[in-house]
Symmetry: C2
Subunit: 406 residues, 2 copies
């Protein structure tokens, strides 16, 4: 099914707000098996609204999803513009108005008169229930085409799409099933090369690659649930350790979940990442069960005086070295009495490099009761990206170690 999207709102055209609604709907509709053919952003203006619907009516799209302009203020004109466009009369829904009044009363607020237009119902059209806000949506049909109008507030738009439009769309298209495979440490082109043979054998799926700084997400969509599951398993086994989950979790969630499950405590010594790894771990609720804390040792003195790195080690090898990373991980593990101590030291850039140590050079140390190891990485990005990439390889190494726990 071909779908058209219309986003209404001056704030989208002036760049005040980034149009995340359109990309959210694009992703959802694609996964359901639809093709989004066109997306138009227009100002809160009668003419712009009717022109854009004219444009939609002239395409071969079966439906349009309009977002924005259903609020109670004067610049929210979508409702009236649609009533005009479809030439429908409308009535005031006393029952819904009472519900709205009650909702405001419960919060000790008086309902503004301007909200009254949110209780208008078209005679030739339907209202769409809004479970999380006051602005109900609208639905029209003309020349076998369907017109849906939803509020622009993302949380309301999303919940109304899920409850009303998604089931309707699913009925129009053959059912689709989706799997997600999240990877890290492997490039999109290498993934494609590795799984090419698996994909060639299959032909009833759609595959999408979504790269970000942390890794590449793979989304597979198809009509036969079993086949999608098999394909997903095949790809996962081809990509091996580069897959960190086959659901929607972040890698820090996977790490924290595994550590909790295995009762493994973790401490951190961060130099060039400056706290970012701790921040990512503590984004996960429940992380306090396994993350005891750590040190940010951003100066040589802090490394020596507070983390107990020997002055000789830094003098001989430099703060950015295998040897320093190793001592850092051993010492942090001992100071915080944890099962794993992990450390990172490197040159985030853009300055601080030397002839032998370029920007982006990173050493990671990992210490457990059984062993102490280090790894070297070389990134080639901005300060901020080098920090982010470092945090990702550290979380990935933690994930792998937690896999190996008996």
């Amino acid at each position: 099914m071909k779908v058209f999207l219309i986003s209404i709102g001056n704030e989208l055209l002036t760049g005040k707000t980034i149009n995340t609604n359109a990309s959210w709907l694009g992703k959802k509709l694609t996964i359901l098996g639809c093709t989004v053919e066109n997306q138009i952003t227009i100002p809160d203006s009668d003419t712009a609204i009717s022109n854009s619907i004219d444009y939609f009516m002239n395409t071969d799209c079966s439906c349009v999803i309009i977002t924005g302009g259903l609020g109670p203020t004067v610049d929210d004109i979508t409702r009236k513009a649609l009533f005009d466009y479809f030439g429908t009369s409308y009535y005031f829904d006393e029952e819904y108005w009472n519900i709205l009044e009650d909702r405001f009363k419960k919060r000790d607020l008086k309902i503004p008169v301007s909200n009254r237009n949110q209780a208008l119902v078209p005679d030739n059209g339907y209202v769409i229930h809004n479970p999380v806000g006051t602005a109900r949506g609208l639905k029209f049909k003309k020349n076998d085409k369907f017109i849906f109008s939803l509020p622009g507030v993302p949380i309301e738009m999303k919940s109304m799409f899920e409850s009303e439009i998604k089931p309707w769309v699913s009925n129009q298209v053959e059912p689709f099933f989706t799997s997600t495979i999240r990877t890290t440490g492997i490039q999109e082109s290498v993934i494609i090369e590795k799984i090419d043979m698996v994909l060639k054998k299959e032909n009833d799926y759609t595959i999408g690659y979504y790269p970000s700084i942390d890794g590449v997400d793979i989304k597979i969509t198809g009509k036969i649930e079993n086949n999608i599951e098999k394909l997903c398993n095949n790809i996962t086994s081809k990509l091996g350790d580069n897959v960190y989950c086959t659901d929607e979790r972040f890698i820090e969630e996977v790490v924290v979940d595994k550590a909790i499950k295995n009762k493994i405590t973790i401490s951190l010594a961060e130099s060039c990442t400056g706290g970012l790894i701790g921040h990512r771990i503590t984004e996960v609720s429940g992380s306090s069960k396994i993350f005891k804390g750590g040190m940010i040792v951003y100066s040589n003195n802090a490394k020596i005086n507070n983390l107990g790195i020997s002055r000789e080690c830094i003098k001989e090898n430099g703060a950015v070295s295998e040897e320093t990373a190793l001592e850092m991980s051993k010492n942090i593990r001992s100071i915080f009495s944890t099962d794993i101590g992990i450390s990172v030291t490197g040159i985030a850039g853009p300055t601080g490099n030397t002839a032998k140590k370029p920007v982006g050079l990173i050493f990671v140390g990992l210490s457990t009761e059984d062993f102490n190891r280090t790894r070297k990485f070389q990134f080639h990005s901005s300060r901020s990206n080098n920090k982010r990439k470092t945090s990702q390889v550290v979380l990935e190494w933690l994930r792998m170690e937690l896999n190996d726990v008996k």
Copy 2:
């Protein structure tokens, strides 16, 4: 001047890529004094491209900026589609092809034949120089309307807009001047109330409010530079301490700049923020001059054994208390031998609260040679947002303290 935007690319319609180009262009054009009237996203298809230009030609917009589809691969069809639309013949630019070949050679790469179409030049049209990539842009004129076509790669699009389109646009519209005022710790509605009187006296400016979790940015645009400067100064003085800069810096940059200027060293003890504040400070290049490091003390044991908080203090007052925050800031300052020690302890949520201590309760401690103080905050948001808001008030307090340094 009214401007139309066309974004070309299947990846934008499937939600694979968020259309940040459109919002970037929207912001830039608005500041220059233009009105973005329409923005259309279409697939890489001949028909869609010609339909969308038809749509533009029927509006009263003076120019359209098209982005995307100028790459070397088969799905990059914008160039040919535009040649067809404007019915122009074209020739192969040997000189530019040699330049491209040389560029590839320097990186030890053989130039793919598919890049040849990037050397095509229309007979009735112009090419736009690309200083950072291989895909040159295109410029056409028809019925007094101007058509610009730029690559979709943000870094290339932005640099070409700045070097070629911005000067052209600035010539078409009366010159505009812009000031930015960045605030924190004050709501949009309170700002509007406070500066209402200032604004009423003036009438030759446009004002935009851009709220985010960190605060509200105010952008003022107008035609008379002196008036804008005066208005900006008036607003800044009305808002007082809530303004942290009148340029484009982040608050962490302001803090680091001030600390470097005043030679003040800083250390951090983070509990509920888990490293986020250290991460934000170390995003700023040069921060190692003043940020010595800190501790992430995510467990009571870490607070007691590593940061030296007395067991009694935690037992009597709890880890989330004024007293603990105070000891934390004193101890971190002493352990890291810095001029300022700052600490934070709180309940990020969604769990961990008690009857007396709700989610979002935060204590910040600040210790210097001259005094030790604490502050209490109560946020009402998600775990992640509570952490972010905490980091913001900590940076804000640091900024204020650094203001007071003689």
